[in-house]
Assembly symmetry: C2
Homo-oligomer: 78 residues x 2
Amino acid sequence: MKTSAKFYHAGCPVCLEAESVVTRYLDPTKVNVEVVHLGSAKNRVAEAEAAGVKSVPALVIDGQPIHLNFGAALADLK
Amino acid sequence: MKTSAKFYHAGCPVCLEAESVVTRYLDPTKVNVEVVHLGSAKNRVAEAEAAGVKSVPALVIDGQPIHLNFGAALADLK
């Protein structure tokens, strides 16, 4: 059964590097990835925070937040 | 063409959580992942450091180090 994941970022260089790895190497037969740019979708910062995201870029998969390197603190996007 | 990646960890809870996501969701038709336990393979800490790893767990893919959350500083594994 496929799972869904959300990749939260804010368009920073670190974010774009991590995004290219996530979108290129995650198995599309096992996971659907929605890319969410929190810089433009400010209304979804609370959603990311509720999922346990503390910085971007972050991948939330199976309900688990995985912070990929450090691009910016979520607090700075509010 | 398949690429190769190395997942460096030290057996910590954060490491094992990240490992399960990496090994379950990376596309096996695109990437071979070698899992390296730096707690037991201390001789490979220098290799990880040379690849730009600063903390574990970390995935090095396409020559790019991606730190997944924070389990332990690499310096603590020396």
